[in-house]
């Protein structure tokens, strides 16, 4: 891309040194200094993503404040040929799906048998407990051969309702792992 460096006339020296052209940079420097001092200069990053409502696949651009790490604006991705930057009512309200919506789940919740309230747990406890339940249930009801004596290796007492609201990679991981566990009752809302 060297082609573009050849600006016709390169003036050396940084902005602000106003001596040569006689430009008065004093108020500009003052304003710049004041802006940075009262840290009114924010910085953000922009990421492209895809809407999670209907299957049109409209492109979105999320602006994330570097300081707080939170999304502060979501708009249509102007280059996405499907929506060309426009969004529908739900898409425009996509911001309400981020953590700005106080109803978002943030803690692992657990309900003990016959209990009438949620308890908060941590991930490790949850995964070890779930693994235990899966193993016990699978081992107890595992069907190695069917009535005609054929090898079937089925786990009929565990079912998986996956989701068409998660990414392809996640769907594939679910599909592979439930097949490995021998599940046959596998479905999700694509059918519903």
């Amino acid at each position: 891309m060297e082609l573009t460096r050849r600006g016709f006339l390169k003036l050396s020296g940084a902005v602000g040194a106003s001596s040569a052209l006689g430009l008065n940079f004093k108020p500009v420097n003052a304003y710049a200094a004041e802006l940075s001092k009262s840290n009114r200069i924010k910085s953000s990053k922009q990421y492209t993503t895809i809407c999670a409502y209907c299957s049109c696949g409209c492109g979105l651009i999320c602006s994330v404040d570097n300081l707080t790490g939170k999304i502060f604006n979501i708009e249509g991705d102007p280059e996405n040929p499907i929506n060309e930057g426009a969004l529908c009512a739900k898409g425009a309200g996509f911001f309400d799906l981020t953590e700005a919506n106080k109803h978002r789940l943030t803690k692992v919740r657990y309900r003990a048998p016959y209990s009438d309230k949620w308890e908060e747990k941590d991930w490790d406890w949850a995964f070890s407990r779930i693994a235990r339940l899966v193993k016990d249930t699978r081992d107890k009801d595992f069907v190695t051969t069917n009535a005609q004596g054929r090898l079937v290796n089925r786990t009929e007492s565990i079912a998986h309702l996956g989701s068409s609201n998660i990414d392809n990679e996640e769907c594939w991981l679910i599909s592979q792992s439930v097949r490995a566990m021998g599940l046959v009752y596998i479905d999700h809302q694509a059918r519903v």
Partner: protein
């Protein structure tokens, strides 16, 4: 200092009532949502409220040759040039902005509610707690920052567009040709021309809560153009006559008991 006048054109023939504008308006102005009930229509909230400045009105209509039409109209302040609300507002809370729209300065509003009955379109709404009037101000703060109003920005079908006055009027009449004359432009023929204009697919009389010939109510004209000046003139004149009477006729003296005089 007069800047370019803007007009918001609402093309109801393109509107699919997705109500993105209702959400965008509340999002930008940070207006809370209320717990509404379903009262037998898609239209919700049921009417403009102090926290709902724009509202899609749903209307089921059978036209003259029996075809069913489902009409959607985005209701909200029409930003009249001759604004009845500005005329009656005692505190100057309602005023004409440099873009020709009707701005509202909440601080000045004393909650006298005179504008509510004066408005030919019945737009301003009152909030009991804050005792203030609320209505669409065509995103005056966004216009000052050179941005489009939030509803125009959010409209996916391009039914809501904002632009410079003459250009938008031409665009509106241009759109009529596209509709082979089946559309009607509403908004430039009364109250000095409104800064919110419609392209309607049916006759204005059909749309509910849309006046066919809106104008400043006669009561307001009588009140503000006649009685208001005459209060001063009247009292002034009478005071003047009294003074004259005093100077010419002098006080009406009491006559010392001349019997039979009276």
């Amino acid at each position: 200092m007069k800047k370019t006048e803007y007009i918001k054109l609402i093309d109801t023939t393109k509107c699919t009532a997705c109500r993105g504008c209702q959400v965008a308006c509340k999002q930008w102005n940070e207006m809370p949502a209320m717990r509404t009930r379903n009262f037998g229509s898609y239209q919700n909230p049921p009417d403009l409220q102090w926290n709902t400045w724009t509202l899609i009105r749903f209307q089921e209509h059978v036209d003259k040759n029996g075809d069913f039409k489902w009409l959607f109209r985005k209701d909200g302040c029409m930003h009249c040039t001759e604004a009845a609300c500005i005329k009656v507002c005692p505190s100057g809370a309602l005023y004409h902005t440099e873009y020709g729209t009707v701005g509202i300065n909440q601080k000045l509003c004393i909650g006298c509610k005179a504008c509510i009955s004066a408005c030919p379109f019945d737009i301003p709404r009152f909030n009991q707690q804050t005792e203030k009037i609320y209505k669409c101000d065509l995103c005056y703060d966004r216009l000052k920052d050179g941005q489009q109003p939030a509803c125009a920005l959010s409209c996916p079908t391009g039914a809501i567009t904002v632009g410079e006055r003459e250009a938008m009027i031409d665009k509106a009449y241009g759109r009529l040709d596209q509709l082979e004359g089946k559309g009607i432009v509403y908004g430039d023929k009364f109250v000095g021309g409104t800064h919110v204009m419609y392209i309607l697919s049916e006759d204005p009389a059909v749309y509910d809560k849309l006046p066919v010939k809106p104008r400043i109510p006669a009561s307001v004209i009588l009140w503000k153009n006649l009685f208001k000046p005459f209060t001063l003139i009247g009292m002034g004149a009478v005071a003047g006559m009294a003074a004259l009477h005093y100077l010419i006729k002098g006080p009406h003296e009491v006559h010392e008991n001349k019997e039979g005089d009276e």
